[in-house]
Amino acid sequence: MSRNKLIFLVVLVLVACALPFLVSNYRVFQFTLVLVYAIALLGLNLLTGYNGQISLGHGAFYAIGAYTAAILMDKFGFPYWATLPIAGAVCLVVGFLFGLPALRLEGIYLALATFALGVSMPQLLKYHHLEKWTGGVQGIVITKPDAPFGLPLNPDQWLYFFTLVVMLLMFLFAWNLLRGRIGRALIAIRDHHVAAEAMGVNTSIYKSLTFGVSALYTGIAGALGAIAVQFVAPDSFNIFLSIVFLVGIVIGGLASIPGAIYGAIFIQFIPNIADELSKAAPWAIFGIFMIGFVYAMPFGINGAIRMLLARFGRKAQTGGPGSTITESSLKTKEASQ
C-alpha cells in the first residue's frame, strides 16, 4: 500500500470515528447499517467479483447469520459479541457445503441455484418445526447492548464503534487474502479455470472455500445487522435482499475492496432518498438511480474514483512513463490490489 493511500485511509477512519458525535442517533443507526452492508458486500464481492461465481442468494447467508445471533442471544443468553464468530462459523460451513454441489454449475446456472436458496430462506425460517427456535412469523426481538466499561457512549454510538472495529478487521483479512497467493488463484479461476488448474490450483477446493468464506463474511454482517436492528423476522430476508446485495457490488465496483463501502452507502441511502422523492413510486426512482450510476460509471463507483484520481495525478505529475491510465490498466490494478 502506498503512503498516500495509507494517509487517505487514516483520514477516512478518523472521519468515521467523528461521525457518530455529529449526527442524530437515527443517522448513527443508519451508518451502522452501512458498515454492516459493507461487510456483506465484501463477502459477495470475494465470490462474484474476484472468483466469478454469481450468487443471487446471499440474503440467505445474511439471514442465517442474523438468526444464529438472535437465537444465541435470546434462547441461550449469549453476549452479543460472542455470537459473531459462531454466526461466521455456521455460515462458513453452510456456504462450503452449498459450494460443493454448486461446483458443477457455471455462470447463469449457478445464479439460478443460489436464487433457489435465497427464495426459499424466508419459508424455511417460518417452518413450524423450527418455530421453537426461530419464533416463526413473529421472529425474535433482541435487546440493544449498552456501552461497556462505563464508556460515555449511548447504545447507538457504541454499536457503531463495535461494528466499525469488526468491519476494519474483516476488511484487513480480505485485503490480506486478496493481495497474495490466494487472491491470484481466485482471479485466475475467474479468468481461465482450465489454465488455473493446469498451473496447479485446486479449483474445486478453492471455489468451495471461497463460497464458505464469502458466506462467513455475509453471515457475520447478518449477525451484526440483527443486533443493530434488534429484531429478526423471516420476511426481512426475502429474495429482494439478495438482489440488492448484487446491485451493491456492481454499483460499488466489482472486484474491488473499497467498492464494498461505496455499494453499501448506495444500498442504504438511495432507497431512502428515492422514498423522499416519491412516496408513490420509490422503486422506480431507485431504478432510475441505478441505471444512471451504471451508465455514468461502467466500472462502478470505485472505477470512477480511480479514473478521476488517475487523471488528477497525471496533471499534478505532468505524466512520466506509465502514468497513462487506460480503463483496462485500471482493471489490472483493481484486480491486483
Binding site: 497467493r181 489454465a195 488455473a196 493446469a198 498451473m199 496447479g200 479449483t203 489490472t332 484486480a335 491486483s336
Partner: protein, 262 residues
C-alpha cells in the same frame, strides 16, 4: 531405442494411449518415450491428435486405454491440479492467460504449485506468507527478465501483442519449475526473426534450465533444427519416430504432409 544416447533416464513413457471423442479416434495406441534432457518434436497434420496428447498429459482429457509414466510413477493417478507440482508445465495452442491480471501476476501464479500457504495463513498474514511472496516475486522477476518482459511487467496481459502474450505464457509455465515442458505450437503467429530466436530460447531452456521439452510445431525448420528426436502422428496414429533426418525421409510422413497439402 532411437534418439540421442547422451541423454538421461526415461522421463516420460507414453504406452498404448487411445482417446475417442464419440466416433472420432483422436489417439490410437500411441507409444513413445521422452528421456531427460531431450527436446522431442511432435509433428503431424491438423487434427492428427497432438493437442489431444498434450491434454492427456495435463489430465484435461481422460485416456480410454493405455498408461503413462512420468518420472517413474503413473501419471494417470495424479489429479489435474497435481500435474504442475509433479513437474509438467505447459503452454496452450490458443493462449490461456489470465487476461485481467498483470504480466507479473500471471507469472507469479505459475509459482502456485511451488508454494503452499492457504486461506487462513494469508488472511492473517502469518510470517511465512510475506517470505513466500518475496520468493515468488523474485522468481517471477528472473523469468520476466529472461523472457524480456521487463518493460511490461505491470501491464494487463490482454493489452499486449500476441507474441508478447506467448512469452508470458512461457514464463508462467517455467515458474512452476517443470521437469518436462509441453509447448503447443509456440511459433504460430510469430514472424521470421521471432521464430529463430525461439529456437535458441528452447535450447537455452533445455541446456541452462535443465528442462526437458516436448514440442508440438508445424514450423518444420524449427522442429527439425532443435529436436533430438521427432515423433510423427497422423489421424491419431504414430507413423514415424526417429532423428529429424529419419522422420523427414519417412515415406508415410511425406505422404501425410502431401496428402494434407492437396
Amino acid at each position: 531405442m532411437q534418439g540421442d544416447t547422451k541423454n538421461g533416464k526415461c522421463l516420460l513413457a507414453v504406452n498404448d494411449v487411445s482417446v475417442h471423442f464419440g466416433g472420432i479416434v483422436a489417439l490410437d495406441g500411441i507409444s513413445f518415450d521422452v528421456h531427460s534432457g531431450q527436446i522431442v518434436g511432435l509433428i503431424g497434420p491438423n487434427g492428427a491428435g497432438k493437442t489431444t496428447l498434450f491434454n492427456c498429459l495435463s489430465r484435461l482429457y481422460p485416456c480410454d486405454t493405455g498408461k503413462i509414466d512420468f518420472n517413474g510413477s503413473p501419471l494417470l493417478s495424479i489429479p489435474r491440479h497435481g500435474i504442475a507440482q509433479a513437474g509438467i508445465g505447459r503452454t496452450f495452442q490458443n493462449l490461456a492467460l489470465f487476461r485481467t491480471m498483470s504480466v507479473l501476476d500471471n507469472v507469479m501464479l505459475g509459482c502456485h504449485s511451488r508454494t503452499s500457504s492457504g486461506f487462513f495463513a494469508n488472511a492473517v498474514r502469518l510470517p511465512r506468507v510475506p517470505l513466500e511472496e518475496i520468493a515468488s516475486t523474485a522468481k517471477a522477476g528472473e523469468l520476466i527478465a529472461f523472457l524480456e518482459l521487463g518493460g511490461v511487467a505491470q501491464a494487463r496481459v490482454s493489452d499486449l501483442p500476441f507474441g508478447t502474450q506467448k512469452r508470458v505464457e512461457l514464463a508462467r509455465a517455467l515458474a512452476s519449475e517443470p521437469k518436462l515442458l509441453l509447448l503447443d505450437e509456440p511459433a504460430s503467429g510469430l514472424n521470421h526473426e521471432e521464430v529463430s530466436a525461439l529456437g535458441a530460447l528452447i535450447r537455452h531452456i533445455r541446456d541452462e534450465l535443465h528442462v526437458t521439452v516436448l514440442l508440438v510445431e508445424h514450423h518444420m525448420s524449427l522442429v527439425m533444427s532443435v529436436s533430438d528426436k521427432v515423433v510423427a502422428l497422423n489421424f491419431g496414429r504414430k507413423i514415424a519416430e526417429g532423428t529429424p533426418a529419419e522422420v523427414q525421409k519417412h515415406p508415410e510422413v511425406i505422404q501425410a504432409y502431401l496428402g494434407d497439402a492437396q
